[in-house]
Point group: C2
Chain length 330, copies 2
């Protein structure tokens, strides 16, 4: 995201400098893994959104840095623990914490990273009580989203929880509320009114959901060059994506049964399976339906942004960011 790149180096610099403080020195067995994950790059989307939102309302972003670091750090805590739960070996091309050290180290240093996130919030002055509540609410929702993801994964294809509404709830909690909270927190620190801060939350929530749906589309219909990862991964592992749920909801009779059979049977020919599933997806128009939904969320977000009483020049960064998200290639 070009619009966010401007913030990345100041975020990385601030984070490295903050973590070098003597308060995070000993025991090194605890703090080395914390520094490893926090300094292992990443796009810093969450911190950037805090800074962007703060600048949008105040013209300045430096005062929001502690809050930006807090949200970025909270996000990294979820990565450490999620990677244990997913048994993931690599993260951003490097060994995950539990792979480089061990699982106990990853549990404990993950806990420490969460507490460090809270600690960074202490530096947000008069905003502490308000931001503290926002982080608590969001943090618990992210845990709820993670649990719904597990519930969906464990559910049979015909279980009632495998529904569009449950899927949307899951991605909202697992991904969107954190982006929403970042925009809201930045707005608060930037001096936005309560009403505008709430609008920023809603924009973040909507574009977070749209982004996730877009990921689902790209995983099946994307171009490997522009998407940047292998196509078809979701179908290969029978992931309950928005596309699959749409198809299960739309298809009837023999077609629906064929889809269920394709997902239930073991296959040695992944290409054949992929093509057969896509044919059924096409028959149910899931690509078009999902893209229409994405546009719907984007338009809602856009119209909320339009309603914020600021000069267009102040909104240009957020506008650019949203447009960049929307033009990811299908």
């Amino acid at each position: 995201m070009k619009s966010l790149e401007a913030y990345q180096s100041s975020i990385n610099e601030a984070l490295v400098s903050r973590m070098q403080s003597s308060e995070f020195a000993e025991p090194s067995g605890l703090y080395e893994p914390c520094k490893y994950i926090l300094q292992n790059g990443g796009k810093r989307v969450r911190a950037s959104l805090v800074l962007l939102a703060s600048k949008m309302f105040s013209g300045e972003y430096k005062q929001a840095m502690p809050v930006a670091l807090a949200f970025e750090t909270f996000h990294n805590f979820t990565l450490i623990h999620d990677d244990i739960m997913d048994k993931a070996d690599l993260r951003r091309g490097k060994p995950t914490v539990h792979t480089k050290w061990d699982e106990n180290t990853a549990i404990l240093s993950g806990d420490a990273v969460m507490i460090i996130a809270y600690r960074f919030f202490e530096e947000s002055g008069i905003f502490v009580p308000q931001l503290f509540k926002l982080l608590n609410k969001t943090a618990l929702e992210v845990c709820e989203g993670q649990q719904y993801d597990v519930d969906l994964e464990n559910a049979g294809l015909s279980d009632t929880i495998v529904s569009e509404s449950m899927y949307l709830k899951m991605i909202e909690l697992k991904t969107s509320v954190l982006l929403a909270a970042c925009l809201k927190a930045g707005a608060i620190v930037g001096g936005a009114s309560a009403d505008d801060a709430e609008k920023m939350y809603e924009i973040g929530r909507l574009i977070g959901i749209a982004f996730q749906l877009q990921d689902d589309v790209l995983d099946t219909y994307g171009n490997v060059q522009t998407f940047g990862k292998k196509i078809g991964g979701d179908i290969r592992v029978n992931k309950k994506t928005f596309l699959l749920i749409q198809a299960l909801q739309t298809l009837k009779g023999a077609e629906r049964q064929k889809l269920i059979d394709l997902l239930s049977a073991k296959t040695n020919n992944e290409t054949e399976k992929f093509n057969a599933v896509v044919a059924l997806y096409n028959s149910a128009d899931v690509k078009e339906k999902t893209i229409a939904r994405i546009s719907h969320y984007f338009q809602q977000a856009q119209s909320i942004l339009d309603s914020i009483q600021l000069a267009d020049t102040q909104k240009v960064e957020l506008n650019t960011f949203m447009k960049e998200l929307l033009v990811r290639k299908y």
Copy 2:
């Protein structure tokens, strides 16, 4: 602890009622394990200390209940994750969370319990910023203590970190700072001056260390009837207790070597090993030295309590609690 029993039922009642709120209902896969650990009894020492301290300064304890629940909940978060790390099957006679559910559930619901602890703090009104800082500091120290415990466990008997000062640092961070923070937080909510709140912290820190040293003595020299658990467990698993570290520090030459050999060799005769180790402990006077140290910490705590400018009637509960700790039978 008789002095704390008075608080137990109101704590349990408040905790059950708080967890029944609709905010902790769904997904049940996340919140059932949280409720299971939070409602699985325990002596509620930490919550009781918050209430006792608040009552000491204000005559009332009800206003401190949210803070008491927050500290008790934080303690339960550490239990869930520690039990995974220790591969412990039972806690308070019931299956641990990762045994009753699975490890992923225990990681995630442990995270949620920590966030719930922070959430309970929101209800402490004007004290939020001050208590928030206290919890952050304490929480990170508890993680540090856990890491030092791991470091000590993994160290060889001749490693420089196997020292009295490291052991004291470890138990201070792992156990005492939380008790200290409970007394301080209760004092703050009870309207104590900053100076008195700090004195309460120091009392908690000292009696926490003394309590842990007493546990070490009782595990080797205790009476199974009064101690309530099997004697000799620490020696059987070669735990690096204060007694062992004292003995390693005091004994010289052949005796020191004999102790190291006893801890290094596998044995089929645990009683013989226990008796041989105790003989060496006795030769180094470790029981007397440790009891002298315990008395020293208690006297320090007592003299700080004496220096707090309150009527004796207001101090009677904390005094009784401290005396109960001191008379545990060796």
